[in-house]
Amino acid sequence: MDTPKATTSKAPDPWDIGFGVLVLAGSLLAIFVWFPADIKGGFFNTTPLGRIEPGDAFFPILLAATLGFLSALQVAISLIKGSPSPSPGSLGKLTPHNIRFLIIFLSICATGLLIMFVLGPTVVWVMRELGLTDAEYRYLTDTAPYKYIGYVVGGFLMTVTLIAWTEGRVRPAGIIAVLSVLVVAIVVFDVLLTNVLLPPNAEF
């Protein structure tokens, strides 16, 4: 909080310029590629009674054009006057450390969520192959223990891995905390609230 006041503006910062250029490119892409392909209504609409009204593409194009204008302005100002100095306590960019963190963090989350999604159906599929059941996962999404397998295992692995990673070690406290949260979540979302399904059961 009491970081020394940053110096006044300096040479154009690549992150500052890069952000503007990226947004500019994005808004042009939106206007010329995305919207034409993905908005069925036109810029203007003719109502059944022949009146001309703004259509579904009206506001998106207006906004994207504003965005393009603002980003061009931002890039121009930064090139002429230099980039604004970041607020105290911020670097105004992603460091290699940040990017490394994001990659690891998102991989842990994605793996946990993937396990959450596929584990239940996989277990049922294996059981069917072994002749232990003839049901499909779709018909077991409200049957214990199948409905809990993916959520509990995926959620547990994801959360405990994140805790262990931040702490640099595995502590019983973390494991106990995660397990109790899972139990509470099951009690709230599965037992008390009867018309709600735990992830991933609404998917099948």
């Binding site: 109502t47 059944p48 049901a135 018909y139 409200d142 018309n195 609404a202």
Partner: protein, 312 residues
């Protein structure tokens, strides 16, 4: 009521090889094509609850709002046709919104049964002194500013058609949900409004008057008032019916068993569902189902296509 199931069973016997009545193998996902808290939602949740109690099927209702049911329909299309994903929407979801739509077509679904139908009315406050649509038109022509409350494009276009037919100016006031139009009317934010059925008690209490029916036939509460079709304003009504659909390819067996179960709930006047429908959408539940329902929707679709062509 007890007679009904044997009849269905007998039909099933005639139709194919003998088999036990269809039953779901797991939970039924009951999708509601409209948002939480509205009239459709109330009806659907009551129906789901009573169906669950009646048949012992596990039914999990879920709201999938948007596009007048079309957002739900687009997802329903891709579900397995095993009777365990059902969707409640309105007829226009299938016989109007499908026109020119790349995502859904009328043939993507199996239609199970209707549950209720609207009582679409042109309404005014009783203290306006208007007794008929003509009174309103005359008031407009002598300088009264008409603000017409609606809740969507289709009914707003209907108001436009009335305006064009009579050569008057109409200002539209858009609200969220059917009740909003009634509230705007009562709160004097508007002096004309559409009502799909919620207006019932207010009309009965003499607070609101029905100026015209936008159904193909006169309304239960105002049998003497003409329909907009009679008046030459439009060629089809603006009314709608609630109906339950499943993905295409649902077996007749499953379709008829589900329809029969729903009819059993609807026919019992003591059920919450039947009470709600009778109050909101008089005279009471509609039960057109199966092939008759499909045929009716297809007929509507052809008529609507004509309408769209005319407008263009």
């Amino acid at each position: 009521m007890r007679l009904f199931i044997p009849i269905i069973a007998a039909l099933a016997l005639l139709a194919g090889p003998a088999q036990a009545e269809w039953a779901p193998k797991g939970p039924i996902k009951f999708w509601i094509g409209f948002g939480a808290g509205g009239g459709t939602d109330t009806q659907a949740r009551a129906l789901a609850e009573e169906l669950e109690a009646l048949k012992g099927w596990r039914i999990i209702p879920e709201n999938k709002a948007g596009g007048g049911g079309a957002v739900m329909a687009a997802q329903l299309k891709n579900e397995p046709a095993d009777g365990q994903t059902l969707g409640l929407a309105i007829n226009t979801t299938f016989d109007f919104a499908t026109i020119g739509n790349e995502n859904i077509s009328i043939d993507d679904f199996t239609y199970i049964t209707m549950t209720a139908g609207s009582q679409m009315a042109v309404l005014a406050r009783a203290d306006s002194g208007w007794k008929s649509l003509d009174d309103m038109v005359n008031a407009a022509k002598s300088g009264t500013k008409i603000v017409w409350a609606n809740w969507g494009n289709q009914v707003q276009a209907g108001a436009e058609m009335v305006a064009r037919h009579y050569g008057i100016e109409v200002n539209h006031l858009r609200g969220k949900g059917g009740k909003s139009a009634i509230n705007a009317l009562v709160a004097k934010d508007a002096n004309v409004g559409w009502g799909g059925g919620v207006q019932g008690p207010l009309v009965a209490a003499g607070e609101l008057v029905i100026l015209a029916s936008a159904e193909p036939q006169p309304l239960v509460q105002a049998p003497k008032q003409p329909t907009l079709i009679d008046l030459g304003v439009m060629k089809t009504g603006l009314g709608f019916q609630f109906l339950l659909a499943a993905p295409k390819g649902l077996s007749d067996d499953a379709r008829d068993t589900i329809a029969a179960a729903i009819h059993e709930v609807l026919k019992n006047p003591e059920t919450k569902t039947a009470k709600f429908i009778t109050k909101q959408y008089p005279p009471g539940p509609l039960m057109t189902s199966g092939d008759a329902l499909t045929a009716q929707l297809k007929k509507n679709l052809e008529a609507n296509k004509e309408l769209v062509k005319l407008v263009k």
